[in-house]
Symmetry: C2
Subunit: 455 residues, 2 copies
Amino acid sequence: MTDKVTREARIARDFSLVEAGLDSGSLSNVRYLLNYSLPPADIADLIESSTPPERQVIWKLLKEKYRGEVLSELAEDVAAEFLERMAPQELADATAELDTDDIADILQQLPATLTAQVLHSMGAQDRLRVERVLGYSDDIAGGLMNTDTVTVRPHITVKTALRYFRQLPKLPQIFDTLLVVNTEDKLLGTVPVNELLTSDPATQIRSLMNEEPLSIAVDTDSKKVASLFEKRDLVSAPVVDSDGYLLGRITVDDIVDLYRDEAENHIMERAGMDAEQDTFAPVLKTQRRRAVWLSINLVAAFMAAAVIGLFEATIEQFVALAVLQPIVASMGGIAGNQSLTIMIRAQVLGQINRGNIGWLFSREVRAGLLNGLLFSVLVGLVAYLWFEHLLLSVVIAMALVVNLFIASIAGVLTPMFLQKMKIDPALAGGVLVTTLTDVGGFFTFLGLATLILIG
Amino acid sequence: MTDKVTREARIARDFSLVEAGLDSGSLSNVRYLLNYSLPPADIADLIESSTPPERQVIWKLLKEKYRGEVLSELAEDVAAEFLERMAPQELADATAELDTDDIADILQQLPATLTAQVLHSMGAQDRLRVERVLGYSDDIAGGLMNTDTVTVRPHITVKTALRYFRQLPKLPQIFDTLLVVNTEDKLLGTVPVNELLTSDPATQIRSLMNEEPLSIAVDTDSKKVASLFEKRDLVSAPVVDSDGYLLGRITVDDIVDLYRDEAENHIMERAGMDAEQDTFAPVLKTQRRRAVWLSINLVAAFMAAAVIGLFEATIEQFVALAVLQPIVASMGGIAGNQSLTIMIRAQVLGQINRGNIGWLFSREVRAGLLNGLLFSVLVGLVAYLWFEHLLLSVVIAMALVVNLFIASIAGVLTPMFLQKMKIDPALAGGVLVTTLTDVGGFFTFLGLATLILIG
């Protein structure tokens, strides 16, 4: 037996060939590889890692029938470039074969009038199933749901069920659980396909059925859905309304996407950005988006400057204070963000409750004070060797302890406050804590200096 | 039909009852709920969101036979507390029923001598399958792999295959793909279980088989494995050695865990921490861990202070410089971290290559310069209104443009440099970029002030 190149190795090779072809301009080869070798997810990757001019070339070379799947794999920001130039009928055709939730995701990016036109261009049956999902926001179970459920009644036998499957044109790609419903589509139970395969064909479905099936309420928060899939090792789960009637199901591939987006989001949010932003966005769009975050920071910076401004007279007499002041502020910022980060993670994981917040707060304050003492000795010593002024070293050492104390309190309380105000602590927490530790640090250091060195 | 509480609602209720029981000390109820109602993942959640004394109570109440599964769900840092007190035989018994990769993950946390003792306490067959996986680090496919594959030969019929399944004591919980191998266990192809269900029982497996099956080389990086599951919507995938012989398979539940850990890691790394760290770690452990990160930052802060120290004479004449200097530095820090973040995300997604890095670099520099110009006007104006000194406003405006220019260059080059040095840019990038923009900001601002205001 001769060794073949594996499938993924071939795809990786063709991916590089397309990149090279785009650089050199030998487009007939690129066209072939795009339409006959690369899967949609790889074409989406290719587009996302291309510059804007190359993207237009790829899009033009790509057959219309593949465009829907590629669109559903693209980050919103990138998809928008192509969506705005597609006619409603073109979009309806391109997305016809997609999963319901993927079509809904794309349509939700469009202006409402355009969505209506695309829906109008669909076949009646498609329109119905898409409209059903479109009603749900994509941050609840309903928005993640597909309508490709396979259901049977409880009284039939395994043999009848298997015969029924063979008569279906196609089973869904992910099919691990058979859903058992009554004549009104109320969910009665579930049977793992596994058990179907190992059971006597004469067995009744009812006797294999899990009568306390895991089902997801349609309005469940999507983060909770993801956590359920993770904890229960699910491959798919039925979605029901408040009366227990079956509406659809969620499959693990969408949960993997959700977690991947969350991971991306956690990278991006520390600079005030989100996962849907395009790496290769044009200059002006980039500049405008970043200006917002810079403006917020500018307000914070001016507040810190204003605090320093209160002590101009003190600095005039002791210029060393201007040299040392960033140390107190920046150590506080780091310590505050350490406390903040452990709190944000705990909030995301739902670990905080009334019974443990007191313990956590006290632990943070004590760890902050201990590090405050440790670094105050170190920084005090260095300051003394540098400026040979004993009282100055005492001032910076005291300010450091106080600011690391402020930092631990700010780090714990800020995310709790932001969560109460329904503002994402991961996004706004950093700026807020840093502002508090900057203001606190400058005020403590320069204030103590005024009292001890001047007064 | 009366409405029952759904399974997840019952678990959530019992979870709260356990929390309340631990607070009030009514432990007999807690013992019952832990051992008869809550699934292992929820017990792990409960432990992770409890304070250290409560954890010991929960652990003692938990039956030994459930401890293995709970251990496998705990973050390493938390699991370590319990592992260090378990005898080798106790650990071997507790983990006997776990998936191979989960046992390996636990054993890899132990000292080598203890691992050998636990292996020695296992049955011969268990030991063999665990040792096979233990050989692989957990950041490659081999470490994610289980040995619970179901294989058939290509010449048998669907009917024979189905009969074979019924004779097995149990099919694996996730069973979406049948693996077809030759007599030497070389992977020949795969058949989706779907197709098995819808095919004529007389069909030969060979004719249903995908002859270019998706298989994963055992040494594939685990991040690449995860990305493959995400792109191909996989539920499971066979793992092969370099000659194509079947070694095991990876299932999507482990990929979901991987992405969840990655999301957690991206939260934690911005404060120099990682996902395995315990939220409720004791004070001294917390203090020591954070001191490392604070020390690194302290070095950076002293470098910035040293730069300011060069210009003491200038500040003595213009104290306003001490007031305004943090603005230039902090705006640079924010802008630098914006560029850094977009680069880190692009690196994680593998979007950067020789063909587009030039475009990206130029886009970053131009966006940085544009925002530099925009904010220099704004900050210059405010500085003028504040200090009524024209040249001072010109100095801060110029410094801001230069520092945002420095920031964009540092933001792009730092992560590329760190990647070359095999240092994680997401961990070290922030400190490095901030140091560069602090040093650059203070030097430019105070340097220009010396030239223009004094010179």
